[in-house]
Amino acid sequence: MEKFAVEFRNVSKSYGDHPVVRDISFAVAVGQLVTLIGPSGCGKTTTLKMVNRLIEPTSGTLLVHGEDVRRRNPVELRRSIGYVIQQIGLFPHLTIEENIALVPRLNRQDKRAYLRRAEELLDLIGLDPARFRHRYPGELSGGQQQRVGVARALAADPDIILMDEPFSALDPISRESLQDELLRLQGTLRKTILFVTHDMDEAMKLADNIILMKDGEIVQADSPDQILRHPKDEFVRDFVGEKRFRQAAWSAVAGDVMTNAVTISPSRGLAEAVHLMGRQRVNGLMVTDNHQHYLGVVGAEEVYRNYGNERQTVADVMNRDLPVVSEDTPLPRVLAAMESGRGYLPVLDANRKLLGVVTRASVIRLVVETYRGGAANERTDAGVVAKLG
């Protein structure tokens, strides 16, 4: 099988003397979700519409699954490519079921087969078939209509789907939920999706690769992470937005998110540990020696399991195997370590001295602060480990 689902080779489009797309080349690998993004008039929609020949290029070659689109019958080509538009474009005089089943019907599929397919797809997009199949588009909310729009694009099981700002006319809540839905679907269906948007948040959230366009040219084509790490020029920085660079999770390290730890010495009894946890409202204590060297963790779990034995001390029950991180561990690795650990992570220096602890609450606090525009690098010092309850 060929590697690229869609490939542009030096494609240009102009209307009279006015160039809209200038000599662009890029390729979309099979199963990738690529967003075309840029300010209005940058040629992103024109680029998209050349794929299913709604617009014909002035020059250059466009390959779909390795075959020049000019050699394909436009009607057949379009039926093999899903298409979702911003205005949704459901036919108001047809039921939801008839709308979804339209392309299979045009392809003269068996009626029973395409009605079953419509039912499957309604299920897939989270609309109850029994309730919705015989409704009309006019009876649905915008969000529900666009769900049907997506289902319709999937009906003939195309490998490639083109989406032209599909969610930008929706209210923010529907938009979020449709984006999540698309990610979920893409996780199982692995279609090749070309997605036009002007919304950087949307692009960052959905894309495997982002193609950033300006004045009909590609400015930068990269993964969201690479664009954040290495914006090519001022335009990219501006378009992506300073805020996003600041809040980009990779720029934070464990030191940015850690908070002061509640410590206990290894010789203390378990009743004392329980008392301290209750007073400080935490569910885990860092065990340190007199020089603040880290020894282990005693959590509610260890204490309650061994509480019956009055002679045991913290040193006897503490957990020494919890993952630890250093102050400059990048946040993604911190979060990964937290997944495998307890929901709190000791932060140590090179001499295994305890510097603080990262908790779920302290990570969330960082996110909140960056959103408010506060300095991300200021340390949080709320002085608690994980809040109880």
Binding site: R79, S80, Y83, L90, Y136, G138, E139
Partner: protein
């Protein structure tokens, strides 16, 4: 009233014939008009540069006084049913051509775009999207044409094509109002009956989805929120 009943019984035999002729003239003209106008209107949406000139010509025909139009037929085609039908057909064109053209023009562009993008052929778009969506406006044109044609058909008597005009003219010649009414009232009733029949046809042909869309515009505006929150709750749970 008595005089009217008397006139009616006197003209009874003629009335049936005249009504039959009148119906025939009008029906043939409207049906022929439809057969010409709707395809012509569709053609114009495909060749928009022709739309202006063609619509102008059709409008000019409409501005010719109906009596004169019937008169023009005499040197060309003589007298009788054929020239009358042709004149009436020409007269019926404008509302139907114009409404077909604008009806299709006004179909939401995004529907055409998504239809094309899904891989529908021009013909499929016409039959499955444009005509169903423009149906209401096209039938409104047919109704206007039908009512006008039934009225104008009363003049067909002047070129010897018969119809209710015969009775009306006889009444005028005899300066006898009841006889005029015996011709005029059925003509008016005929127009009303046709209008109502076409209105029913329109309702019957309106796809349920379009009726729903028209009705629920308001309801959807406030129903929206509840539906969406219910969805969120379900997902959250």
């Amino acid at each position: 009233m008595n005089a009217l009943m008397q006139a009616l019984s006197q003209n009874w035999g003629d009335l049936a014939t005249a009504l039959g002729q009148h119906l025939f003239l009008s029906l043939v003209a409207v049906v022929l008009g439809c057969v010409i106008s709707v395809p012509l209107g569709v053609y114009l949406t495909r060749h928009r540069r022709l739309a202006g000139p063609v619509l102008t010509v059709v409008s000019v025909i409409q501005t010719i006084p109906s009596l004169a139009l019937l008169g023009f037929m005499i040197p060309l085609l003589g007298i009788g049913t054929v020239p009358a039908v042709i004149a009436l057909t020409l007269y019926a064109l404008l509302p139907m051509v114009r409404n077909t053209y604008t009806g299709i023009q006004e179909v939401d562009r995004s529907l055409i775009e998504s239809a094309t993008g899904m891989g529908m052929t021009r013909r499929q778009i016409l039959w499955m999207v444009e005509l169903p969506m423009a149906r209401g406006i096209i039938i409104a044109g047919v109704r206007t044409s039908a009512v006008t044609t039934i009225g104008v058909a009363t003049l067909a008597t002047f070129i010897g094509a018969g119809g209710l005009g015969d009775i009306i003219m006889r009444g005028i010649d005899m300066i006898d109002t009841p006889t005029i009414l015996v011709g005029a009232i059925p003509a008016a009733l005929l127009a009303i009956v046709f209008d109502v029949l076409l209105m029913w046809l329109d309702r019957w042909l309106t796809p349920r989805g379009l009726r729903v869309a028209a009705r629920s515009g308001q309801r959807r505006a406030d129903g929206n929120v509840t539906v969406e929150t219910a969805d969120i709750r379900r997902r959250g749970a």
